[in-house]
């Protein structure tokens, strides 16, 4: 269907009405202004109190020749009823994971979100508040972030978590900038080819004007050989960035990678899937200096890529070089325990061009959602979701590769996703026919890895059932 709905919902713009800047007649009745409480009588009284006779006079400082001639060329206003019908139609024309079966991954996943997460995040005292700059008016947000920081520290084993960054990709780039500063080795950054290709692209964009070299170590077998990594790391290297499980779903030899990084005096940055930490060794226990993660899986909807949640946690000695906000515990003048934003001298509003980062607005509401999710799951819930992912992913590997039409891309242990190779090279055709059967079956890899043009990535979360996996194997292999 053509999503450009006709009639009231048309996206077509209206023409500019006149050649003069239009200001509203001051005392006209206002239609379609559901969010502006001033009545014509209020406006009249306010203008009189100010000492002017028209709204236009208030804009006297905007030179006439710089003002917009006529109205903005925007589509006409819609009532709530019209808007609801129009947007519902547009929403309905997408295929969502609720109407299909989603096996897509690559950094965003269809995990289950308990209702309690949506309920808490819908409290308007949380979602309509600003950054908690006035602690007396923001203890709810501040305590929730302090709890988030603690939960992330528990999950990763690291000493300190910040209050969130934008997403996993930009958090990885921030970690790289942090490592350049901590090590005082601005010139070289080493990443693996098995790091999410978009994350590598982000790091490259962040480093483009910073006189730094970005080395990418090949991972031809799906994971890195420690010797190949060692050859790329030298005494100018600020950090080694390893994703575990990596973009292909495979587990890297993180202990060996940590050793290589540390022997060269470089920092070891690990990008993790937070769900995997229900089962896998915590990053602090294998030598991570900075842990970053995409926090979407922790109770946040997939929402076509955002808003998501950048997790960043590190060892205590690096805390003053961390980007982003931090909440700390203290006492008030009456001796009550309370929470405040702290170490603000790292931040842009104090330190300006010398700040550790430019970040101001972060992803507070998504951090709250992650905190509620982790509290609801608890240790046993996190272990079960991780175990379900491993069992179901490995079952899916067996089913998908049973007929020989599809093969595993890499023969390595995986957590919840894996690379599938179409023996006949027909990736697009197979995925399309699966879509026809109601399956979002996989992410083709050729866009990022030309050598894997015959491969796609399949993710299996706890939401996928045996029946769905069996049927996926059928539709992918009989195409």
């Amino acid at each position: 269907m053509d999503p450009k709905a006709e009639g009231a919902g048309s996206l077509a713009c209206c023409k500019r009405a006149s050649s003069l800047t239009r200001f509203s007649p001051t005392f006209s009745s206002q239609t379609r202004m559901p969010y502006i409480p001033n009545t014509p009588a209020d406006q009249e009284a306010m203008l009189a109190a100010i000492g002017v006779t028209s709204i236009e006079e208030l804009f006297a400082s905007v030179p006439r020749e710089l003002r917009l001639q006529g109205d903005l060329n925007l589509p006409p206003a819609l009532s709530e009823l019209e808007l609801t019908a129009h947007v519902a139609e547009l929403s309905g024309s997408n295929v969502s994971a609720a109407q299909s079966v989603c096996f897509l991954g690559g950094g965003a996943y269809d995990h289950f979100i308990p209702a309690v997460v949506d309920f808490v995040a819908a409290r308007s005292e949380f979602y309509t508040a600003y950054t908690p700059y006035q602690p007396e008016a923001s203890q709810g947000t501040l305590q929730a972030i302090f709890e988030y920081q603690t939960l992330i520290a528990q999950l990763t084993g690291m000493d300190v978590s910040n209050a969130s960054l934008y997403d996993g990709g930009s958090a990885t780039a921030e970690a790289v900038l942090m490592a350049r500063s901590v090590t005082d080795r601005p010139g070289r950054v080493v990443v693996l080819q098995s790091l999410h290709p978009e994350y590598r692209q982000i790091i490259a964009a962040y480093l483009a004007n910073l006189d730094a070299e970005l080395a990418v170590v090949p991972t031809p077998d799906g994971t890195v050989q420690p010797e190949a990594l060692a050859a790329a790391v030298d005494d100018r290297t600020a950090c080694v960035v390893v994703q575990h499980p990596n973009f292909f779903g495979c587990l890297e030899d993180v202990r060996a990678c940590a050793r290589v990084a540390h022997e060269a005096g470089a920092m070891f940055i690990v990008v993790v899937d937070p769900i995997s930490l229900g089962l896998l060794v915590r990053p602090a226990d294998y030598g991570a200096d900075i842990v970053v993660a995409e926090g979407q899986s922790l109770g946040n909807p997939m929402y076509f890529g955002g808003p998501y949640l950048g997790i960043l946690a590190c060892r205590e000695q690096f805390v003053r070089r961390m980007p982003g906000r931090l909440v700390g515990q203290t006492v008030d003048r009456r001796g009550n325990r309370c929470w405040v934003l702290t170490f603000q001298t790292r931040e842009q509003h104090i330190r300006r061009e010398k700040a550790t980062s430019n970040i101001c607005t972060n992803q507070g509401l998504l951090a709250l959602r992650a905190a509620v999710y982790l509290a609801a799951m608890g240790p046993q819930g996190m272990r079960s979701v991780a175990e379900l992912c491993v069992q179901k992913a490995n079952y899916a590997i067996q089913r998908l590769t049973a007929s020989g039409v599809l093969r595993r891309g890499f023969d390595r242990p995986v957590f919840k996703e894996f690379v599938v190779r179409a023996v006949d090279g027909e990736v697009e055709k197979r995925l399309e026919s699966a879509l026809g059967a109601g399956f979002l079956a996989g992410v083709p890899l050729g866009r990022w890895y030309p050598e894997l043009a015959d491969c796609f990535l399949v993710a299996v979360t706890e939401k996928r059932t045996k029946q769905q996996i069996d049927r996926l194997a059928e539709v992918l292999t009989t195409a």
Partner: protein, 483 residues
């Protein structure tokens, strides 16, 4: 009636054996985990998270929420933050499954409704900006700034020009110099005049063939529209430099003036300010940027474009692009709310937003100037900056004292101590969604506060759950997690 028990930390409320989520049993044939995952990769025990039931969690967080002030509960005149009302229709529409349950790597054929919305947002923002091309990718205003400055770097590199510096007024938001530094530029500060506008002479002294970008907030952080903007742009352009507009204050000029028409080459929007997105206690926001045609080839990928057949697709084939600054498309959820908001306003409504934001600010200013100094005159755009300098000199009452005391009267505090060029600054932005009655009540509260004894104010607030936390202690003996 504060529930002190429920607002203990989650970790204090935890009891072994409690859980809120029970997942179904595994329905596929299983094997011991060690057969799938090498033993050395497995943790000896699950992460030491708290153990709670659903009612524990609900009572805890609902009680915590009541310790916040928010737009839905209080007037929140936080300058520079545009704390306007967050329409409920936007929340309902944006949370539909057809948007929320869409994976970023789905085929474009399954995304046509969403891409139609995002394409329309690109076009509407380009029109509001008066600029050619838009990227919706940046996740927040500060990331938008940095993205645009990376775009500028790619543009100059492509032209073989070696420029090094970004010029920034002393009244600018702290994100401006921080973003410039992250993008690899040296920063030079430009002075403001006593009237609070850009000092043209200082600007001219500092402009050179090394100047890449002049970053400007207009209306500026004093709430003043700098009418010299066309001349500023002329001078920057004469050196081959670019003008960046920090769009944090777009609420003042929506539908009245367009940055592209007054000389800006690039800008960012803050949809969580201007376009009514909820602030979420610190985010999510979004930071879409708009640029001239000359800069468009360098924007991040992807951009939403129309297909020949009337549909939409994501264009990744942009060889001069800077790449990307975050994963996936962008903060789509925020952008869908932007769409709902702009479609509710229409062209007439957009202009009325600015008119009433400016009317409310000028009205509040007219009430406050009878008892507080307003150093930069008695007219403003969407916000203004008052100063408590006189009260500090006479009675030792600071801007912070006044801000804290306002909480007792049921008003959120204004922004304090910003911009840096005003002493004891109280930066007040009422927005268009507040009524005259609310502004009157706030003005009366402030007037009363200014007559209250200093000792009472130094101890304020008196009615909140906590008062005057020891921030020095928080920094000196950091406790950044429960243990």
């Amino acid at each position: 009636m504060r529930n002190q028990q429920a607002t203990q930390l989650l970790f204090e409320l935890s009891r072994p054996g409690r859980r809120a989520v029970q997942l179904p049993p595994c329905d596929v044939p299983t094997r011991p985990i060690e057969e799938w995952i090498p033993a050395e990769a497995l943790a000896a025990s699950p992460p030491p998270l708290p153990e709670l039931t659903e009612p524990d969690i609900v009572r805890h967080f609902v009680n915590l929420s009541t310790l916040n002030m928010s737009v839905d509960t209080h007037f929140y005149p936080l300058g520079s933050c545009t704390m306007k009302y967050n329409p409920k229709r936007n929340e309902r529409l944006a949370s539909q499954s057809g948007f929320a349950d869409v994976h970023p790597y789905q085929p474009e054929t399954t995304l046509q409704g969403l891409l139609a919305i995002l394409h329309s947002v690109q076009e509407m923002l380009a029109e509001i900006a008066g600029l050619e091309a838009v990227s919706l990718q940046p996740a927040a205003g500060a990331q938008g700034e940095m993205t645009a400055l990376l775009v500028a770097a790619a543009y100059f590199r492509d032209r073989g020009e070696h420029r090094r510096t970004v010029l920034i007024p002393d009244a600018a938001h702290g994100t401006n110099p921080a973003s410039a530094a992250m993008a690899g530029w040296s920063t030079i500060q430009v002075r403001s005049t006593a009237q609070g506008l850009v000092d043209l002479e200082d600007l001219s002294r500092k402009l050179s063939s090394e100047t890449a970008v002049f970053m400007m907030t207009n209306p500026n952080t004093l709430g003043l529209f700098d009418g010299q903007i066309a001349e500023i742009a002329r001078r920057v352009h004469a050196y081959g430099g670019l003008v960046y507009l920090d769009g944090a204050n777009m609420n003042a000029i929506l539908g009245i003036a367009r940055p592209g028409d007054f000389g800006a080459d690039m800008m960012h929007f803050n949809p969580h300010k201007t376009f009514s997105g909820p602030h979420g206690g610190g985010g999510p926001g979004a930071g879409p940027i708009a640029v001239t045609a000359a800069l468009a080839p360098y924007l991040p990928v992807p951009i939403v474009v129309r297909t020949d057949r009337g549909g939409y697709r994501l264009d990744y084939d942009r060889p001069k692009s800077i790449g990307r600054v975050r994963s996936f498309f962008g903060n789509t959820g925020v952008l869908v709310r932007t769409y709902c908001y702009l479609r509710t306003l229409g062209p007439d409504g957009a202009r009325r937003v600015a008119e009433n934001a400016v009317l409310n600010a000028n009205y509040l200013l007219s009430r406050l100037k009878t008892f507080l100094d307003i150093p930069h005159g008695d007219r403003c755009m969407h916000e203004f900056v008052a100063s408590a300098s006189a009260l500090k000199a006479s009675q030792g009452i600071t801007a912070m004292d006044i801000a804290k005391r306002l909480l007792d009267f049921g008003f959120h505090a204004p922004t304090v101590y910003f911009p840096l060029i005003v002493k004891e600054a109280l930066m007040i932005e009422p927005t268009e969604t507040e009524s005259k009655a609310t502004l009157d009540a706030m003005a009366e509260a402030l007037e009363r506060i200014c007559r209250e004894p200093a000792d009472l104010l130094h101890q304020a607030p008196h009615s909140t759950a906590i008062s005057r936390p020891d921030e020095v202690r928080a920094a000196r003996t950091p406790i950044l997690k429960f243990s």
